[in-house]
Each structure stands twice: as C-alpha cells, then as structure tokens.
Symmetry: C2
Subunit: 340 residues, 2 copies
Amino acid sequence: MNDLTIVDIARLAGVSVSTVSRVINKHPDVNTQTADKVQKIIEEHDYVPNNSARNLKRESMKAVAVIVKGFSNPFFTAMLGIIQQELEQSGYTMLLTQVETDKDEVSAAISLCKEKKPRGLIFMGGNFTHTPEKLAMLDVPYVMLTFTMHWDVDRNTFSSVTVDDYTAGYNVARILAESGHSKLAVIGSNANDVSISHLRVEGFCQYIKDAGLDFGNSQIAYAGEFSYEAGYNAAKTLLEKSEFTGIFCISDILALGAVRALYDAGISVPDEISVIGFDGIDEGRFHIPSLASMYQPDRDMAYETVRILLNNIRSGAKHRHLVFDAEFYKGESFAPCKDV
Amino acid sequence: MNDLTIVDIARLAGVSVSTVSRVINKHPDVNTQTADKVQKIIEEHDYVPNNSARNLKRESMKAVAVIVKGFSNPFFTAMLGIIQQELEQSGYTMLLTQVETDKDEVSAAISLCKEKKPRGLIFMGGNFTHTPEKLAMLDVPYVMLTFTMHWDVDRNTFSSVTVDDYTAGYNVARILAESGHSKLAVIGSNANDVSISHLRVEGFCQYIKDAGLDFGNSQIAYAGEFSYEAGYNAAKTLLEKSEFTGIFCISDILALGAVRALYDAGISVPDEISVIGFDGIDEGRFHIPSLASMYQPDRDMAYETVRILLNNIRSGAKHRHLVFDAEFYKGESFAPCKDV
C-alpha cells in the first residue's frame, strides 16, 4: 500500500500542493517544465492521485461516520458526495449525522461511537476549541475536514485537511486594498466564533491593520448561520451602520445573500461595492454577477480526507495535517474601486 | 400509534392536501372558516403533523438506506437533511448511497439490501419503468420520494410521495400563455426520459396542444444532467435553433444556468424572455432576478416519507401514495409578454 499523499509529492518536487493538484488535473496554467518534474515524481513513486482509496483491498461491511455541521451548505454537499463514493468503493458504509450550528460536534461523536461503533470519523465543520481530555474519548481515528484544533491538542492524535484560512482572509483584504478599496467591511459568522470563520476574519483584519487602514466595529456584521437569508440580513445591517466599497463574506452563500441585499438597496455590484466570498461553490460562477471568491480545492480535500482516514484505520499510518491554499477567482462581483 | 397522514386529514376535511399543509404551517392565505374546519379535524383525530415519527418508540440501532439519484441537487439536500434527522430521532441510522444519473437505482438497492440489511429504503429520484419482477427482489418496504412507478406495478407493494408533475407542467404552460406568451420552449432532462422530468415536459406540451399553440422539436432541448452548466448549455442550444419568449426548465438549477446563458447572450430576463423553473430551492429567491418556479412542498414531502416508511416497517401499515400540489411562485424571472 502506497502511503504518499499529495503533500509528499509537493515536497519532493519542491512546489506547492496547489501546483501538484493543477498538474494532476491537467490544468493549463502550469509551466511545462514544472509539470514534467511533478509528473516524473508522481510516476517514480507510484503515487495514484485522488482515487487511491479505490485500490485498497475491499473489506466486509464497516462504517465510517461523517459528522456535518452546516449540512445545507452546498460547499459541503459536493465534498460529501465524493466522500460517500470513495468510502463505498473501499467497502465502507458512510453513516451521516448532522449537528446543529449551536451544538457540540465532539459530544455528538462520542455518543455516536458508543451506539454505532464506526471504524473512524470525519468531522465536516466544527470548532477548534475542544479539550484534549474530551477528544481522547473518541476511541477511533478521525480527520477534521475544513477545520483543525488549537495547538494545545497533540497533533499526533488526529488528522486535519484544511485551507490556510487566515492567509486567505489576509489576501482578500490585500486584493481589495490593492485595487483601491480602502473602506472595507466583513460578514463573519458569530461574535464569539471559535471556528475557521474566525480565522478568515482575523486574517482579513490583520491586513487592514498592517496596511494602516481605518477599521472599526461598525464594519463587521455577524450572520449567525450559513444561509442566503443570513447573508442578506447581515449586509442590510452593515449598510445601516457603515460606509464601504468592498465586503468580504466568509462563505459564498452569505455573499450571494449579501449581493441580493445590495441590489435591493439600489446599490450596484461591483460598480459601487465589490463583494468577495469564500468556498467556490458552483452556483457562484452562474450567478449574475458571477461571484468573486476564494476557492477551496474541495475535491482534493475530500479525496485526501478519505485516504488519510483509511490509511490510519487499516495500517495505523500516522496522523497528517494537510493545508491547501485557497485561490482567488476574479468573478464579476469584484472591480477596482471607482472612488479613487 | 396514530396512523393518519396528511392525506386522511385532507379527505376528512374535504380540502386539498396543500390546504391542510397551509393550515398546519399557519400560512396566511387560507380563509378562516376552512382553517377552523381543518384544525378541528386535526384535533379530533389527534393528528400530529410532520413530527409524529419523533413520538414513536425508540428502537435499538437499525438502518434505513436512502438511494439518491442526483445528489448535488440542492433540492434534494434540504430533504435529505430532514430525513436524516427524522430517522435519527426514531432510532434509525441513515445509510446514504448515490446512484449516477445513467445507472439503475433498483439494481443498486438490491445489492445494498443483501450487503447491509437495512429495514427499509427511500428512493430519491429515479425512473418509473422498473418491472414488477425486479421490484419484487427488494425484500424490505420502500418509499419512492419525488417519483412513482408505472401503473403495471401493484400499488399495494410500494409507497410514493410526489407532486403532480404532469399537472404542474401543464400549469406552467398555461401561466405563460395566459400572460401572452405564445412562443414557448422547454428544457427537459433526456430525450428518452422515463422519469418525472418527462411528466413535466409532457404536461407542458399537452397544454400547448390544447391551446392550439405552435410547437416543434426545435423548441425542446435536453440538459442530460441536473447542473447549472447543463442548463446553461441547453439554453444556448435553444437560442441557436428557435425563437421564444418563455422557457420552462424542469428544475431550478437548470433554470438558473439558463438565465445566465440568456444574460451572456445579451437577452433580458424577464423583459425579453421569461424563465420558470421547478422545485423552489432557497437560492432562487435570492438570485438576481429572483426565479419564478413551481414550488414543491419539500419539507412536508420529506416528513411524510419517513412517517409512511416507519409505519410500514414497524406495524406493517399499508402502502400509501401521497400526491402534493406544486405551487407557482411568481419570481422576477417571469413577466407578461411584451410582444403582444
């Protein structure tokens, strides 16, 4: 069994994980020399991208539980589809459980482990503040997909697959500022947030600070949940209390709700206000205007999650922490600031 | 255990299922007299709407398999969320399986039954052409959600929860025609379709025939799959081969793709062309323009599906066939024809 992941290939080739991903997916914008080098390393190491889980020996009926916080988010749907298929093809049944936004996903997982005896767990969406003592009550391997734990949890006890949320948030502010936007606003999830949304907001605010731009509490609104309507309402709140020419929404469905709120207020996107989302859901590209967003490599993240978990379940392979880069997609909802 | 469903209440009150649903959900547009009558019957019969499955006695770990054809469709996501929660609260684990659009869902279910021994099945999306012999190989109760079988299958052998797709399709054409649209087009799923999409197209075409409007093959395009992109491409095909002022798309995500294709072709929706979708997904209301659509009562359909299946599994209650009405939502993508 080949234990290499996309991260190992990237390290061996001396390129980023995103570049390896682009080579594997035959994406045009990689220079030929780099692509050849990566391809050679892939071949030398018999690395089977993405679908390696398929080649593992089929075992009899065993289950992996997937605990989803934010089930209706289309960003999760695409990944869930891949996870289910990959598990199935490796002989594992997927047990799907939802956890409400205000509930504790680790508590839910602990009782699920007792009742249903899964061989492993995948958490999709969750908080990063669980104590090592509580996490120790999970008696099977688990991977956190789209989030990770604070540094006080021993990283040899769990795996995670994420994007660099902090840097992505930082880059959104930078992209806006470099296009002349100096009055910025952000829609986060909750004021007392202990999840990835918080990292995105934090990175965003750090750039603003580094660049010496003005920023105050009136420029933040919290959606409370991940839905079109929550994004709509948060944008309305922002419009009432602040002035800005660029908004960062920490998820695409919030951003699509926000764009509609601006439209209903008679504000043109992007002529008067630019909107940038996060995730890269399909519908964003077909929206009018199409949605600028930080794209997460969702397919790769889902494949790698299953691969890491099954390697761990089957051969006790050590835990891993993959961090992908989010990439900026320049949709029509973004334009240089006209106030300059 | 109370065995009444929403259909029984509707029959006892002498009103439609939609009316009962509106009363239960405290929808404003039911006249007070009707609402009182329905409410009285609900109380007389101790009918607990929607969440009755919650009251059933919890049993030890047992599974229900859900076989989904079209997993990425957000219309299914909302229903899946409800089904998982309802099953969970009744002590059943949901086993989720996806079937590709071109694969046979009953064959998939037969092997799943052998391997995983679920207590019952829910099919979401599928064809209506399976033979009684093949269906007989399913050795547990099952409910077809959003579709049903042809009349050659004994209706006492399975349950179904659907909307009246044919009438809904018929009504879309009528609504368009009554607003002055005489040149109509439709985006279906496949030319050799044997699913609900076909019933929607058939109803639509029947109205056109009844009204004596012109209609030919150039006015139909097939998307092949349910995605924004497929809707986008189908609309482009229609624009190349035909002229029309109203399009019916048999699903909302196809419709949203089609609206974008018209936009890219420089055509204004709804000023030049009206677009009507089907399903009533959340994002349709936040889209620009908001999407006119035939809304399916997805929450009620999901609740009733679980209720019927669990009653059947637990007490051998007889099979049922619920047919809800789809309701027209007048979104901004629809307007009277200006050519008149």
